[in-house]
């Protein structure tokens, strides 16, 4: 480890430390690495504690092990890295990440998480004293020769308001070096430090100690990586509300598409905005309000000096516009040259390159909860469409990544739509740590989640993260289908179901080896408990055997796989276990009487429970053009004696074909004939003598 100062403008940086990280972080570079700054665990004020909760979501198509390394700002040695294995689409929540992973009761620094699958990592710092939670999201470290600007530095010793900013640089790879430069609003360099290390390390300095003249009300920090891999962040505390803010470095984008420019979502009347013009010429940035009543409105054109930084307090009212109290919308920022924008308490500014859902780029909101209890949090999801509107769906996933429900979305051009997650998915129980994907067929949209503490009503806003689209030349599975399932079953009889993972072109993805859950989607019963509801695919196929449904009825099954469109089977019937075939105990053949036609055969059946049924066979026919004919069990073939006979049925409109009539107890044993009788005229039309079969 080494440290040196290239330009000794900084007189005091006693708080700066470079600390080694465990050797685990120095191992071979994994495919994906993200840094979560501002992680903290400890005592905030007297009697209150502060801690960081994190949500890590495996956005990959297969299970992966994720390694958590911690770089502490203190002199304490780094704890050993910890690993957690997550299935595809699975979310891991750690309520107090430093305590849960390392058993630390005190600590502050940055998490460096790496894994072989793409993932999203978010954090929130919350104090037990109530309001003051702030969310932040991880970012990829800056590579060699890359630089990023954290444009929310506020360091002011004067009260009302008083701000303090700590500057942290994180070197995430061996032999890395980063230059930390501090500029004021006019673009004047106020301090610089070059930090390097042979291994992963963290450096931190208070602006008040680091800068010769620390009074910078509006400033920014540039993190320029000259070797290896690094990033940084600013921790801003103070202000009227005493809330914290974590400002992370952003790259200057080479060009901003005309249609998208920059977008700031979740803007309210109290939102503040900073604009940074990194160019050598002044430029005018146009601010346009979207999603507010009355449609898009240009609220201002702000001229920003070369390398200048501009802060706009209460941006919605900056040009005198009056928006309804509580209104939430977005800002679209247009400028001819690249620029950066950050809103206080808002998601990072996004362009069409980041965070925008398009038909080719789904995005996701993670770590969502909906609790009616206090303490607890409620989540709102808001969407803002681009100029071509947006058509698609929201996909609600549980913490295992399984699709629970979908909700269609259709937005007009530049339309803002926001509502509680439970309103997007009515009649659904929102699972803990849910995730909502935004998948579009047409247009574009930016989404964010607003998370509100039920107790304190403090509000944080989280932007959607891009779901990685596999770069493989061979497309991966997109959806599940049932390839084999019986169309009808008998209750309790074992059966099998086969599910295939299909690509978009309906070919089987033979490489798919993910886990698939099988559930009863609808029907009166559930699988027997001995059935394993989750199976791992082999060659793109998943077979469930020895499935049993014991409750008769009409069913559909659903197959769920992380990252895949779920499958719902065709409805199928589960029939009751058929009773034993009835026994034919007597038969007979009809003959007409009184000049009327009666022909065909009959049988009397006795069921296992002893009940009897008279069945007139399909060859039965009787004269009946005038109306009601009744069927009787009688003791003779002659004129019917209704006093000693039993009527078992009536033919009212159809007088030929198969009929069945239950025979009342005690059955047919006392009778010798079946008679078809014209009740209105009280004459026999025919009779059949009963005999043994």
């Amino acid at each position: 480890m080494s440290r040196y100062t290239r330009l000794p403008l900084v007189l005091i940086f006693a708080a700066a430390h470079l600390l080694s990280l465990s050797s685990a972080l120095q191992a071979a570079k994994p495919a994906y690495r993200r840094v979560l700054p501002g992680v903290i665990q400890g005592r905030a004020t007297e009697g209150t504690r502060i801690g960081t909760s994190t949500w890590l979501v495996n956005l990959g198509a297969s299970s992966a092990s994720f390694e958590f390394g911690f770089l502490s700002v203190s002199k304490a040695s780094a704890p050993p890295a910890q690993s957690r294995v997550l299935g595809p689409g699975e979310t891991l929540r750690l309520n107090n990440v430093l305590q849960d992973l390392y058993g630390l009761s005190e600590g502050e620094g940055a998490l460096i998480v790496s894994g072989d699958q793409p993932f999203e990592l978010r954090g929130v710092n919350a104090s037990t004293s109530g309001p003051g939670a702030n969310w932040f999201q991880s970012s990829e470290p800056l590579g060699p020769d890359a630089c990023g600007h954290a444009i929310w530095l506020a360091n002011r010793s004067e009260p009302d308001p008083e701000f303090r900013t700590d500057i942290t640089a994180v070197l995430t790879a061996p032999n890395s070096a980063v230059t930390v430069s501090v500029y004021d609003a006019s673009g004047i360099l106020r301090g610089i430090e070059v930090v390097s290390s042979e291994g992963p390390a963290i450096w931190r300095a208070s602006a008040s100690q680091f800068l010769p003249d620390p009074e910078i009300a509006i400033g920014r920090v540039k993190f320029a990586v000259t070797a290896g891999e690094a990033t940084g962040f600013l921790s801003v505390t103070g202000g009227v509300a005493g809330t914290g803010l974590v400002a992370q470095p952003e790259r200057i984008k080479a060009a901003t598409p005309e249609e998208a420019n920059l977008l700031l979502n979740g803007v309210t009347a109290s939102s503040d905005l900073r604009l940074f013009n990194p160019n050598e010429t002044e430029q005018e940035i146009t601010l346009e309000a979207l999603g507010f009543p009355g449609g898009p409105a240009t609220i201002g054109r702000m001229a920003v000096a070369p390398n200048g930084l501009l802060e706009i307090r209460g941006v919605l009212g900056a040009a005198g516009f009056v928006f309804p109290e509580g209104a939430v919308g977005a800002l679209r920022l247009r400028a001819p040259l690249p620029f950066l924008a950050v809103g206080r308490g808002l998601p990072m500014a996004v362009s069409s390159e980041i965070g925008f859902a398009t038909p080719n780029q789904p995005v996701t909101l993670v770590g969502l909860n909906e609790s009616v209890n206090q303490p607890g949090v409620r989540s709102r999801i808001a969407l803002l469409s681009g100029t071509r509107g947006a058509i698609g769906l929201l996909r609600l996933r549980d913490s295992r990544g399984l699709t629970i429900a979908t909700s269609p979305i259709r937005l007009e051009s530049n339309e803002w739509q926001g509502k509680a997650i439970s309103a997007w998915f009515p009649e659904m129980d929102i699972p803990l740590d849910a995730r909502v994907d935004i998948e579009l067929e047409n247009g574009s949209a930016h989404g964010y989640a607003e998370i509100v503490d039920s107790l304190t009503q403090s509000r944080v806003v989280v932007a959607a993260a891009a779901v990685p689209v596999e770069a493989s030349a061979t497309p991966s599975a997109k959806r599940l289908v049932f390839s084999a399932l019986p169309s009808s079953l008998t209750a309790g009889t074992p059966f099998a179901a086969t599910i295939q993972a299909l690509r978009a072109d309906n070919s089987v993805d033979g490489r798919f080896t993910g886990s698939v859950d099988l559930r009863v989607a609808s029907g009166p019963g559930a699988f027997q408990t001995t059935v394993t509801a989750s199976q791992t695919a082999v060659g793109g196929n998943v077979s469930f055997r020895d499935l049993r449904l014991t409750v008769p009825g009409r069913y559909t099954l659903t197959a769920l796989g992380a990252g895949l469109e779920s499958a719902v089977s065709e409805p199928f019937e589960v029939a009751s276990v058929p009773p034993p075939a009835p026994t034919i105990i007597r038969v007979g053949t009809f003959a007409g009487q009184n000049g009327y036609l009666a022909e065909g055969t009959l049988q009397i059946e006795r069921a296992a429970n002893g009940s009897e049924t008279l069945r007139l066979n399909p060859n039965f026919r009787v004269s009946g053009g005038a109306g009601a004919i009744t069927v009787w069990l009688a003791r003779a073939s002659g004129p019917l004696n209704t006093g000693t006979s039993v009527r078992v049925g009536t033919l009212t409109r159809v007088f030929q074909g198969e009929f069945t009539f239950p025979i009342p107890a005690p059955g047919s044993s006392a009778f010798t004939h079946v008679i078809v009788y014209c009740d209105p005229f009280r004459i026999n039309f025919g009779a059949a003598q009963l005999r043994n079969p």
């Binding site: 005038a626 109306g627 209105p680």
Partner: protein
């Protein structure tokens, strides 16, 4: 039209020139309002057996009229304007019956006149006649007052008078061309009348009906209605002339044998007006 329910009702003698070889003189006419009642607890099966059955009741009010268009042409109408009937196991039904209209053409004059009659059956009665059956849930039965078909009957009659016309004898036969799949029929009748006094006359009739072919069982429109009906009936009537124009009568008619026909007798009261 033709015979509908169980009926010797059509035996009703008009005491005009119906079923005779005579025609009515030009410009004269005869009308008759009658009320008949029929009750029976047995009927003739399609095989001709008489079996006991539920009791049947029928009450019918009819209008009969004939008018001499010329001496050789007579117009005839017979209209049962009210029928009420039921079985004691069913609800009752009230409706009009099928009507007959036609004409008669005298072919031969003299002591033994011969006339050709053509009449048309108009299906204006209730050919469904749905009634409910007691003690049979949802049970229905058909007691129609018409067979729902249009038919044409062509008949030839001859008559002869004796003893200066105090006694007359007539006979004849006809062929009934039926539609809607019903089997054609032959009919025949012989009747004789005798004037006992200047006011009192008596008459007797023998009338029969036979299908021209075996009945079509699929065309049955109701129990004992329309298809497969055959009978030979006999009846007698007493007429009292109140004055030169008005008369009253009472008669009784009963089948001697039959098929698909009620076996009961038919009592008829009539009031005639000549003009």
């Amino acid at each position: 039209m033709s015979k509908r329910l169980l009926c010797l009702i059509i035996l009703l003698p008009a005491l005009g020139v119906s079923q005779t070889g005579w025609t009515r003189p030009q410009g004269t006419g005869y009308t008759r309002f009658s009320f008949s009642t029929l009750g029976s607890s047995s009927f003739y099966t399609p095989f001709g057996n008489e079996v006991s059955s539920a009791r049947y009741r029928d009450y019918t009010g009819s209008f009969y009229g004939e008018y001499g268009i010329t001496d050789d042409w007579t117009a005839v109408v017979n209209f049962p304007f009210l029928r009420n009937h039921r079985l004691d196991s069913t609800s009752s039904l009230t409706a009009v019956g099928d009507a007959n209209v036609g004409f008669k053409r005298r072919l031969v004059r003299g002591k033994t006149p011969v006339a050709l009659a053509v009449d048309f059956g108009l299906p204006i009665g209730d050919s469904q006649g749905i009634v409910s059956v007691r003690d049979v849930p949802d049970g229905t039965f058909r007691l129609p007052t018409g067979d729902g078909e249009f038919n044409t009957r062509v008949s030839l009659y001859a008559s002869r008078g004796f003893w200066e016309g105090k006694t007359v004898v007539s006979g004849g036969g006809g062929y009934n061309v039926r539609t809607r799949g019903f089997t054609d029929e032959f009919s025949y009748s012989v009747n004789a009348g005798h004037r006992l006094t200047s006011r009192v006359s008596i008459s007797g009739s023998l009338i029969g009906l036979e299908p021209a072919r075996a009945a079509n069982p699929s065309r049955s429109v109701g129990f004992g209605v329309g298809e497969g009906v055959a009978y030979l009936g006999i009846g007698g009537e007493v007429q009292y002339r109140i004055n030169k124009r008005h008369s009253v009568s009472v008669g009784y008619y009963e089948p001697l044998r039959g098929k698909n026909l009620l076996a009961g007798g038919n009592l008829v009261f009539g009031f005639g007006i000549a003009f």
